[in-house]
């Protein structure tokens, strides 16, 4: 990585493996960039392994997962467990949001299950967009990155 960031966070933006929707990702990228963050957008249908590979390389300040196909509660839980099992990514702040279940049923149960699985926050439908900005503002400030610097010190 060669960018030098001082204020905004580097955010890894992704959806889950089964979700082909992208307008939500396009919107979030613009929103996050407007808040001064640098966004790496992985696009639709991201296999867990691909997300981990990119995350290890990018070392984001935060991971934002957006899913709207209703499978987010299943795919998301599996993804975050894999992430938390990775030594490099265990502590990276991660949030998931969108339409996470089908027909809005069992939302509360999904939220708790996703938090239990390892997400730091869960943003469900109807939550204002500012919630995401507040979440990111509360994450640890970005490290100073020098061009060509090695990965973040643990």
């Amino acid at each position: 990585m060669t960018s030098v960031l001082t204020r905004g966070r580097t955010v890894l933006l992704s959806t889950v493996s089964s979700d082909a929707h992208t307008w939500n990702l396009v919107y979030l990228q613009l929103l996050l960039e407007e808040h001064g963050h640098h966004v790496v957008n992985l696009g639709p249908c991201v296999p867990d392994e691909h997300l981990l590979t990119v995350a290890r390389a990018v070392r984001p300040d935060a991971i934002v997962i957006s899913s709207v196909n209703g499978h987010g509660h299943l795919d998301g839980a599996r993804l975050i467990r894999t992430l938390r099992d990775d030594a490099d990514l265990a502590a990276t702040p991660a949030v998931i949001g969108g339409k996470l279940g089908i027909d809005g049923e069992d939302d509360d149960r999904h939220v708790q299950a996703l938090l239990d699985a390892g997400f730091d926050a869960v943003v469900t439908e109807g939550t204002p967009a500012s919630a995401l900005a507040e979440f990111l503002a509360a994450t640890p400030p970005p490290r100073a990155v020098d061009a060509g610097a090695p990965a973040r010190a643990a």
Partner: protein
Amino acid sequence: MTAGAGVDLAAHVAAAATRGELVVQPRMGMSDPRRMAEGLRAVAAVPAATVGTITLDSYTRVSDHAAARAAVRRGAPLNGFPLVAHGAEVTARVVRDVAGTIPVQVRHGSAAPGDIFATMVRAGLATSEGGPVSYCLPYGRVPLAESVRAWARATCTLAEDGRSAGVRPHLETFGGCLLGQLCPPSLLVAVSVLEGLFFVQHGVDSVSLSYAQQTSEGQDVEALTALRRLAARLLPPRVDRHLVLYTYMGVYPQTAEGARRLLAGSVDVAVRGGAERLIVKTVAEAHRIPTVGENVEALTAAAARARQARRSVRGPSGDEVDASEVLAETTALVEAVLELSDDVGTALVRAFAAGLLDVPFCLHQDNAGATQGAIDADGRLYWADSGRLPLPGGARTRAGRITSRRLVTMLSHAARRFDGPALGGPVPAVPPGPVAAAHEGPLARIALVGTGPRGVAVLERLAARLTERPPAWPVEILALDAVEVGCGRIWRTDQPEYLLMNTPAGEVTMFSGPPDDGPPRAGAGPSLGEWWQAVDPAHGDPNGYAPRALYGRYLRQVFDTVLAGLPAPVRVRPVRTRVRSLTRSPAGAWRLESPELGGVDVDRVVLTTGHASPEPDGEHARLAAFAARRPGARYVRADSAADMALDDLPAGSVVGVLGLGLSFYDVMAALTVGRGGRFEAAGDGLRYEPSGREPLLVAGSRSGVPVPARGRNQKPPDHVYVPLLFTRSRMRTARRRGPLDFRRDVEPWLLAEMDLVHHGTALRRLYGKQAVTLFHERVTETVDPTDPRAAVVEQARRLGGPALPALDLPARARPFAGRRFGSPEAYHRVVADHVRRDLAEAEEGNVDGPVKAALDTLRDVRAVLRVAVDHGGLTAASHREFLASFVPVASALSAGPPRVRLHQVLALLDAGVLRLLGPGSVFTGDDRTGRWRGDAAQVSGAAVLLDAFVDARIPTPDVRRDPAPLTRSLLRAGVWSSFTNASAGGRLRTGGVHVTGAPYHPVRSDGAPEQDLYVLGIPTEHTRWFTQVGSGRPGRWGDFTGDADAVAEHLMEFLAQRVTPAPAQEVVA
């Protein structure tokens, strides 16, 4: 065909097209074969030309057939039909019942369709959809090159296997959809055509080219036109092809009402744009996968709407729209791609790698992601950033990068637009009985201030819309006019019959649709010409020029007809009253005050007050002041002829008339025919029989020449001129770069368009219509934007056209500029010859006469000119020059009177009742004699003393000089403000009421629009251009009807919100 082969899609569509039917098709897929078969049978049973669809599930789409099989075994429902997992035998059984009735198409979304195609063919199916780009980039992560390879292989196999199985393979591109939203049409059309070429290159010779409905009906029709033209140019003739439109593929309206309206809109686009097939959406779209019943309902509704639309299309068809912008962009894109390789697939991969194709907002790793699409104020898509796309005219800037907020707004544009009125609340059925009794007064009150043509047009459109969606609760409409309710002052019915209109009666209508089998009513009724023939068979003539009073009677008839047809809860109160003020009431409504009404509170006000009687300024003021001091020097101020004090000018007195335009002809008629004189036929022209009660008319103007006649009308009443060079889209595109310079950016194209008609008419007379078609093609191909007129002249010369003198508009408007005449007699001889030559040109007609046809173009392209100049389109400096130099010339040359008026001028000159002073005419008060003095700078010995002076110039509208108390009150309160064009550093205070775009709210002096007021017509002149249009035209809606409808539409939105009485009702959309 083998026993297993079903109906051929291409043949089915072609047969329907021959019958004039639009083929309709759902998206439908169930995992259970029995239910899938039932769905297909239901589609086949719809009484319309349909195509059955088998939509596949997500597992099959990504070739995870094992997962699909597992789900089938478990009996778990999938979101589509797992065709490979079920296998060919099951699939063949599913389609068996409908195979002889309708074609069945498999829709899937796979970037690797080999397995799907192989199974299909074994089941007797060879019709599918997709493409290497469109089934790859929008979904998932398969690299584009891989998708191209997979599609190439699968397409070849489908072509070969299908043929050996006896079914004709057919593939539909999905390239006209891509991500469904925010992609300007040129890229959609380009990818659709390229995918079609790809299919053909891999052996398929029956294709359909898709395009997905976007956010503007007009733009969509243009796109379909471009798609058809480009396909005709690029696909080999042996390839069977048709166009398929997808009903909107983006964020869908939430309400059933909104969803139905959007579907209806897509049907209209398909019919107008010439798409042969439509893939529909249902009312469930925003919420879930639709049921079979919902699909059947959508198919039935779409087919019915299509039949209706074929009979009366609203808006121009594909052949009439200006598709040049989208066609030019699309052609540039496709040609740039095809240059990259002879193999279309390879070219596509290279084009995406180079960013020559780049889908806006597509996150696929092989998409450059440098482009952005956006929606403009008219609802049309445009390139906010064109990245590296090879667009003609160079890259579009990054200036307006999209924000997240704007993205969301744009994504929901269509949903908002169609849900808008519906979400205001349900529209319950009209309750029986007298509704007013249940309420204290009306729930909503709307006032029309001024019931001339503009006011009546708004009422007509509002009535048409209210009839479609009657309100449940009382609505009162106050129809107010200071002179005559239903027709207004200019067209009042008690004016003398010799005052004529300047438009042939057949070209005038106040109904927004043609008469039909039913009674005349809002939306359907006769034109003035038709009505005139019906009420006065002896004189009624659609090509004739009706008396103004007769038009007034027609207007009142329309007004009465509209009133009679209003649904019960709507009451109109016609009141003859002059509104004196309009102010905000403390409750937030508007308070109208007038002597007859007292004070009345209204919710909405439509201000269509028409021509003012402005206070004289400058020269006018000087003349008025002179007359005020000299009782012997009479002064008749400029106004509508019926309101000018002409009757008491004594017989035999010498009357000066300033102005030789349309008002002059009215004054001339009033003082001759109006005094009992008669025009009799004599040879080719007329002879005047004086009554002896005429004054002597001494008329003059700057040019000294009566404005020329309009060419003999050869255009049918519903004539639509489709410009080739001076087009709306060209002007719209030019305006995106900032304020225009009229001389540099607008006039060359306007003149080139006139040249095109000038030379085209001459070519047609010599060589026939084909020569004109060829001429237009060559001009289109060779036109140089820096000098558009050159290509016209050059191509006409090459085709053997005659050497025509260039049309010099200023010289035609002032033919004697710079010329001197030795005596009034010498001038009379020359000007009479000039008028005779003009009549000869006019006799040739406005279609067959090269000169008059070219000048008539000025009338035909007024709407294009408005696109360029309205609402601050020109820089302030250029706007000033436009008003001072171009407008007078254009008015003189295009708004001509009927030929008979020029014949009358010649007869009056002969009879000695009329004298023309000459070029450079000046009228002054003569202090020595106390009389008026007329003189002409360019004619020796022209000076003459006058007893009276008539100002026959139409006053330039200027609200700042309108003494009407209502105007004063609105200006004082800052509700109205005079529009200042302050673009490009200049400043032009125009005197036109500042209004927004449609629906034309006045913009307050503090810059905020008043959203419950509307202003149309004359008061807005200068903010908009050429508002002095006093009627609609039959056929396709022009701005006159469109403007009225925009106001009516906005009023309907208000009523939809308002007609829910407190306490608020439940919303049951």
